[in-house]
Subunit: 136 residues, 2 copies
Amino acid sequence: MNTSLEEKLRKKSIKPTAMRLLVLQCLMEQNRALSLNELEVLFENADKSTIFRTLKTFQENYLVHRINDGSGAIKYALCDDDCICSLEDNHIHFLCTKCEKTYCLKDTPITTPNLPNGFRANFANYLIEGICSACS
Amino acid sequence: MNTSLEEKLRKKSIKPTAMRLLVLQCLMEQNRALSLNELEVLFENADKSTIFRTLKTFQENYLVHRINDGSGAIKYALCDDDCICSLEDNHIHFLCTKCEKTYCLKDTPITTPNLPNGFRANFANYLIEGICSACS
DNA sequence: AGAACTTTGCAATGGCATTGCACTCCTTAA
DNA sequence: TTAAGGAGTGCAATGCCATTGCAAAGTTCT
């Protein structure tokens, strides 16, 4: 049906199934990071493990990245088109402590600091907690 | 016995008990962030919940801060003396993906970026994963 | 249509944080 | 000195979330 969604999956070598298209569409519409539980609620008739495996597939193919925002549940957000989830692709995430929503701040790049001698960085997760624009 | 440890607790209004002194001593010696499980192993004869509550007490009195390093287990590290765990006290944490140890990089301050309009920061957690100096 | 593979649903399982309850220990007031 | 009350501890659950084994359903290919 929605050719652009299918195309997005195919570009990442993911076979488009009904479930996958729905999850992808949902992630695009929400434009923020969603937890497995949030998706489970949105798709009441789908099983948790199916959604979990869908997200796992997405992640393995660099379609989404996992975000640990300390809320207890891992959240998932869409990657940029050419993302390979390397250090350069890492960006700041913002967790609103009021509405519990997590946003990717892709326009706010992470400045990687100088590390002490002998320390090498492979991955960065910069989380900021506070109040989002909708809640303030 | 160890007056300086007791003093450290009293300064933070924590009544020094045997368990608390042991946990504090351990955190000072290790000089890194420890998980509940790691402490449990070190103090085999102490109960998990006791250590948990010890750490909770420490945290409530700004003696330790909790670190979510994405390893699945929360880790605990000593605060600086005058820490009140505010945004200014936040610092970078480094998780070595080889030895799984987490370090506070207190000498590497977090530069808080400009946030989009309407976003206000209260807390920052900047985690870097990579290889530590001991493992590289 | 049938074989092989993929995806999905259901029902565990496991790890970790957290808590209720009872027991012990310590302090305090009579 | 002793009784009472509070704080600290240990044990045994509980709950939440991620993850997985297995079988059923769907898909693809011949």
